[in-house]
């Protein structure tokens, strides 16, 4: 991937979150929307991970991708059980929509790449994505969650995103 497209991609993601952030300045997401954002955020990374698992030839990237699918699937299962228990239906919001759009864009881009270019683009996006979700958790999701159990789940999930970010950064540093 060229430096330009990478920058553009990062700018797009950052822009989407900034936009969503400013939208929330007026209307904070309710619990149903927060649940929708959590589900979308995890699904985006599951989709990218599944594509990376079958595309990459590199063992470290493959095992990272496999773990992303496993961990984020686990978080979404837990989230699904929680919303069922709380009788909340996850609903869309600007942030969930921009996450899905960003995820689709990433998949489309990755599908056109192979070999080292694919690995680098995938891992670069994983770094940006996990950082963006951590920011969303800190600035938007955790502070606005009303239900105590939902808030607790978000707080407990945050360190997983941090660990994934560290892992992705470590992979990224081996690709320079």
């Amino acid at each position: 991937m060229s430096k330009f497209t990478h920058k553009l991609l990062c700018a797009t993601i950052a822009g989407a979150f900034a936009l969503a952030g400013s939208a929330f300045a007026q209307t904070a997401p309710d619990d149903a929307q927060i649940a929708g954002i959590v589900v979308a955020a995890n699904q985006v990374d599951i989709d990218a991970g599944k594509l990376a698992q079958k595309t990459t030839k590199q063992a470290e990237v493959k095992s990272f991708a496999k773990q992303m699918v496993t961990d984020h699937t686990g978080v979404n299962k837990q989230a699904g059980a929680l919303v069922k228990k709380l009788k909340v239906t996850p609903t869309d919001s600007d942030l969930s929509k921009s996450l899905k759009a960003g995820g689709a864009e990433n998949i489309a881009k990755l599908k056109g790449l192979k070999g080292k270019e694919f690995d680098k683009a995938y891992v670069d996006h994983e770094v940006t994505y996990h950082q963006a979700v951590i920011d969303a958790l800190d600035k938007t999701l955790i502070p606005n969650a009303k239900n105590a159990e939902l808030k607790d789940t978000l707080v407990k999930t945050r360190p997983a995103f941090v660990a994934h970010l560290e892992h992705a950064k470590q992979l990224q540093s081996t690709m320079k």
């Binding site: 773990q67 496993t70 961990d71 699937t73 686990g74 978080v75 299962k77 837990q78 707080v155 407990k156 360190p159 997983a160 941090v162 660990a163 994934h164 560290e166 892992h167």
Partner: protein, 111 residues
């Protein structure tokens, strides 16, 4: 007389066998894995005790001694809701981590 001595011998042997068990029955210690943390951070056990890691997170973790072959724990991936038992045999201090999430670290001390 010889018979009595023999009986006393048996009784002593029986006591000797029971003795250590009565003094220090092997205990079972539980380490919870919850919210990407090992709880407690440091667990102190006696040689012969069992340590059980119980994973309450929605994804797998491991408990793996940072030094392999040291006599510390070396678990497979522990699935969500599952447990892994480890008999602590060799005294020592064993720092360990989750190999899947290396931000997760803790210590097992075997006295």
């Amino acid at each position: 007389m010889a018979f009595l001595l023999k009986r006393a011998g048996y009784a002593l042997a029986l006591l000797a066998a029971l003795g250590p068990a009565v003094q220090a029955a092997p205990a079972v210690h539980t380490v919870l894995i919850d919210g990407m943390r090992f709880i407690p951070q440091t667990v102190e056990v006696k040689a012969g005790d069992t340590v059980v890691w119980r994973n309450k997170d929605p994804f797998p973790h491991t408990a793996t001694a940072t030094q392999s072959g040291s006599g510390g724990p070396s678990s497979p991936a522990i699935a969500p809701g599952a447990s892994w038992r480890f008999k602590a045999a060799k005294p020592g201090s064993y720092p360990y981590l989750c190999t899947l999430h290396s931000t997760m670290t803790a210590t097992l001390v075997v006295k």
